[in-house]
Symmetry: C2
Subunit: 235 residues, 2 copies
Amino acid sequence: MYPTLPPSSEIPGKGSFVTITPLGNVLEGASRPVFFRGVATVCMKLFNIVQPERVYFGQKDVQQTVVIRRMVEDFHLNTEVKIGPTQREADGLAMSSRNVYLGARRRTVGVVLSQALKAAEEQWNKGKRSRNDILWAANDKAMMKMFEQGELKPKERAMFEVDYISLADPDTLEEVEEVDESKGAILSGAIKMMPLEEPQEGEECGLGGGAVPVRLIDNIILKPIKSNGPKVHFG
Amino acid sequence: MYPTLPPSSEIPGKGSFVTITPLGNVLEGASRPVFFRGVATVCMKLFNIVQPERVYFGQKDVQQTVVIRRMVEDFHLNTEVKIGPTQREADGLAMSSRNVYLGARRRTVGVVLSQALKAAEEQWNKGKRSRNDILWAANDKAMMKMFEQGELKPKERAMFEVDYISLADPDTLEEVEEVDESKGAILSGAIKMMPLEEPQEGEECGLGGGAVPVRLIDNIILKPIKSNGPKVHFG
């Protein structure tokens, strides 16, 4: 995979890279400035080696799907990008290999992210199109849960921080003030479940004993309503 | 060629780019920081569209050949890079579309670049391997010519500046202190022919009337002497 230099993870690092900007620098890329450079670079290599007719990615890492679509389009790669839906637990929590670190207490509270996004989606479904009219519902849901947990005793609660709740253009991932119905939007969010306070005797604390924070991400595609030619990305 | 954003020529520009560093930032890239990013990006697109069995580049733009070879290698592109030799005028001046801007007077002096590189190559052929033992001959040749021109009257002379004379590793383009015989080296240079002073009545001044400076580049590959497996790049 790396025939010459070993990969650098510094921003001005030495090596051969594919950068997709500003797509790779917003949302998840804001706190991990070279992450999507790594994703794009390694996928370009892999696609060139395998020459696949189709490539499959999961919608859960939605920014990755947008970066890969853009890379395939901009570099004229002869492959079709297919996106599989996010798999969810019964209560809505997006499945993730990280969930094993949550433990029972944080697991129960962690569902707030999918609930918050779902609440915002309901506003979209009701015909709301402006940022505030859509996102208030998500922010409200998160805030209520945060308040509720704050009222509990440290041995009972699971605190979290909201990293972002985003309503973004599906092609550029730029935040939108008003959703264009012909394009739809990507509703996404990230929260950080804080380390467990006062783990109790016999409590199921998850892998790592509840000591490490767990960052959860999730998203919902607000699908375009009026078709605008063939460029409908999410169907 | 550009399905989404128009290409940016700013350093932190928006878009989808292939960067090959530090290869693209030395020598010719030092004064043109996004030039090889553009070359690599546009070649990646073209190669993906055409899917060529072989691609041909000219040795005159030697840094371009090194960047493209590296890109093909690092991104596992399924194509073979072929390098064609530099075409030269009878006196040794490397042919270039830019030469039409020289005019007779600067044309005569401009040959100093190929002569300087040739002089350094002779040192290599005589068995010299250290940087100073090879490059002094090129620097001497350039300096002598510069001095000679400086002694002439403004209406007769063609002044120039040496941008660089380089002795570099053929894979990394890093300057070398001692040439590894199993790898050889790239001897390259760039000079700037200054605008003509006091053009004379009826003088052939070239396209632009001798008013614009003309930057000339040239190079000679010092071929590896002992073979080191199959990775002999220039044959």
